[in-house]
Structure formats: C-alpha cells, structure tokens
Amino acid sequence: MTDRILITGATSGIGNALTKRIAHDNDVLVTGSRSAELVSPDLPAGVRYVQADQTRPEEAVDLIDGALESSGWSGLDLAVLNAGIGFACEPHAETPDTIHQTLDVNLMASMLLARSLSGRLEAAGGKLVLIGSVAHRGASGFATYAASKAGLHGFARALREEWRNRIRVQIIHPGPTATPMHARAGFDPGRIGRLFLKPETMAAMVHRAIRADKSPVTVSFGRYILSGAFAGRRL
C-alpha cells in the first residue's frame, strides 16, 4: 500500500538515507533548508521537495502546510520530524544565536509541526515519529543540543499518552551516525568516528523501529550488533 509520508531534514544524513529507502513504494514529500536546485541531485525521482528553513519555525510550518494543501493531501500516514542542528562547544561559548537556532530547529519547529499536522494525521490514522538523539540524557560538549532533544523526548512522552487511540506518537533516539551534522556542528569525533554507523545503516534501523512502534526507543551500536546485521543479515 502506498503511504503519504512527510520527512523533514531529508537532504542529508539519516533523513536522506531514509527517504531513499522508502521513496520507491510511497508518496513522499520532504523538506530541507536549501534551494530545490541544490538538493535535487540528492533526492530520488518522484519525491516532492519543499524548501522550509526550520530556523524560522513559524514560516516553515506555513510553507509545509501549503505544500501539503497543494498536493491535495488531506490525510498523512506518517510524519518523520528529523531535521536537526547542533553546535559543539563549551556551554559558556554558546551564543544567543546558536542557542536560538538549536532550540528553534530541534524543538520549536517539531512541536509546531506536530500541532499543524495533527488534523491530517488523525484523518489518515497516521503516525508521528520524532527523531531524538542518545544525547537526550545529557552531553557536556553539546549542552543546548542535549537540552533540545530532552525536550523532544518529554514532548513525545506526554503527547503519546495524550493522543492515545487517536494518533500514534513515537520518539526514536539514534546513536552516533556518520552524518554531515558533526562537521557542521564543529565537532571532530577523532578515531572513535570510525565506529559511527553509516547513515544508510541507521536509516534501516530507524525504519525498522518505526514499524515496531515502541517508544521511546534507542537505535545504536547495541541494536546493530543484536540485529545480526554485521553477520550479513538484511536490516
């Protein structure tokens, strides 16, 4: 069956890998902050793209609403709110600007999108998936990032219960993944970075977690080992 799926932050990293994984048998609309000409080589054919910069959450919500409206999607089967941003530095070196951006993209935009998508999700019996991070328990070099993901965790915990029997809500916390976010965040993982999972591997595990519906759920090395993927089992 073809599902109508929205994925935010789909032009790189886990969001992009997830889009490539599910695009061929679903109707997919994705968002990113860059212009359509710049991102189109990275997106599979048939995927609709809307440029919506989530550092301005209110505008992004309007743009995404408009795109869903003009696509004629009165219902939405799955929304994966994955867009994220981070800055690695000592807490006192974070500026008002980096704090605003981190909270706007990771927390505010996801909450306002959840709010604006609720009608479409309910109409289709759909599901809201929030992409958190293992950092939601705290991270000294990414304090505001960790805070934003903790906020998302608490939001999902409350909303999953509030929307029970109406709209399914799930939060998935990916572990370290080799995405461009680390470089953009100014973080060099050094040699440990070689252990980071590939975005394609992480996307496969996230996809599996979405189908299993457990929340909250952490997808990281441990799950990778347990899944048997290292021994060639298909994720």
């Binding site: 807490p91 605003h100 709010r115 609720s118 608490g154 939001f155 409350a158 219960e161 509030e162």
Partner: protein
C-alpha cells in the same frame, strides 16, 4: 548568607517567597520580572519580559550591570494546559522562550561575562514532571525536561570554573499559577506552600545539594516515575489530562 542574588520571576509564587527569605537574610537581591515585587532597601527590580527574545536582548545589560552574583535562581516559568493542538502557536513560542531559552542564555551569558562570583551557585527550577511525564501539558513538560538536561549537561564544565549547578524539581505549589492550571476538583491543600519550598531550596544550597526535590510526596512520585515511567505517565493522563475541562494559557 551574604552577597548578591539574582532571582527571575521574583514577583509571585516560589520566586516571591525566595526573594523575601533572601532579603530577610540580609542578601542583596536583584529581581527580574514583569511586575515589581514589594519594595525593599536591598532589592533592585529589573523589569523585563523574559518570554520575549528582543526584550531579553534589551534587558541583558541591566542584568549584567547589577552583578556579579553569588546565587542565581532561574525560576521564572509558565505552563499551558489543555489539548495540545488547541493552544495557539504564539503561546508555545513564549513558553519555550521563558522556560527554556532564556534560562539557557542567561546561564551561558553570565558565565561568559564573568558575572558569577567564584563559589557561586546556579539553580535551575525544573519540574517534577521531568520524572512523570505530563499529558495535557506536553510543551510545558518539554520545556522543563530541556532545562533539567541542560543543567545536567553543564554541571561539570561550570564546576571547573567554580560555579555549582543545582537542579530543583518542585511538584505543584500552592500558588495562583498552579490553581489556574489544576484540573477541576483538585485538592489545593495537598500542594506545598511556596515558602516551604523556598526554605528547602535555601537549605539545599547551604548543604551543597545537586538535586532538590522538595517534600516526601514529590520524592516518592519522582521515584515511581523513574521505576515505572509508562505507568506513571498513564496515571498522569487519567488524573490530569482527562479531568481538564478547559485550556489555560
């Protein structure tokens, strides 16, 4: 106690009780709020809407100028209760700015600008909902979880610079604010008096506590939430969300 304290949201509730107790201990107090607290010779009032980014930008220099501080209590906060999607986006924007973004900016900025004296204490007022989940106040819950984990994340880095970070997780207090957000038929006498919570907070700062959960019922609730997170959140839904007869923001 001596020195200068900074209290946000000092005009009502827990903040008001704290300001009074600190003044009674001869501390100098700087209070940031929208409305002035009762006047006092050792009190400086800075009027600032901490729920508005631009107002915080403007008020920041006055907050810095009134320092450096020996004690900072980032206490200002609001709730928004009701069906999540029925509450306007602007309300959520102000809530997240007040409860999460401004305290983070202030903590980071006070450290960067050397406005915290060596040995200073920095208190973040989170919420007991960090342990229980809070259906019917999903954005409030998010804001307080974010603050709790921010405090945890900066603790080591701040300690290395001579500042201790304290997280406080109060349950419902007997304040006009809590009254407005409580579900119909809730028993107000079970809520702790703000004065009592303020006393516990000050005792905790003297004892060097890192985590303060005021009162036995709150401590037990936090423990239950840690042991059985899903069950306790389900219970919160039944006890609070299902009894809410209106949205309040």
């Amino acid at each position: 106690m001596t020195g200068t304290a900074l209290v946000t949201g000092g005009a009502s509730g827990l903040g008001q009780a704290l300001v009074r107790q600190l003044l009674a201990k001869d501390m100098h107090v700087v209070c940031v709020d929208l409305v002035p607290p009762d006047t006092h010779a050792n009190l400086i009032f800075i009027k600032c809407d901490l729920a508005d980014r631009r107002a915080v930008n403007i008020g920041w220099s006055a907050i810095l100028a009134a320092g450096p501080y020996d004690l900072v209590v980032l206490n200002a906060g609001v709730s928004a209760t009701g069906q999540f999607e029925s509450i306007p986006a602007e309300v959520y924007r102000r809530l997240i700015t007040l409860n999460t973004e401004t305290p983070i900016r202030m903590a980071s900025g006070l450290m960067r600008e050397a406005a915290l004296r060596s040995g200073a204490q920095l208190v973040f007022v989170s919420s007991l909902s960090h342990f229980t989940g809070y259906p019917g106040a999903a954005v409030y819950a998010a804001s307080k979880d974010a603050l709790a984990v921010y405090a945890k994340s900066i603790r080591a880095a701040f300690r290395n610079r001579g500042v201790s970070v304290i997280s406080m997780y109060p349950g419902p207090l007997r304040t006009p604010h809590a009254e407005r957000h409580a579900p119909a038929g809730a028993n107000a006498s079970r809520r702790m008096q703000p004065n009592e919570a303020a006393l516990i907070l000050l005792a905790g700062t003297i004892a060097g506590d890192k985590v303060i959960i005021p009162g036995i019922p709150a401590k037990l609730t936090a423990l239950a939430g840690r042991l059985f997170p899903a069950t306790v959140t389900r219970w919160m839904r039944r006890e609070i969300f299902q009894k809410l007869d209106r949205s309040v923001f």
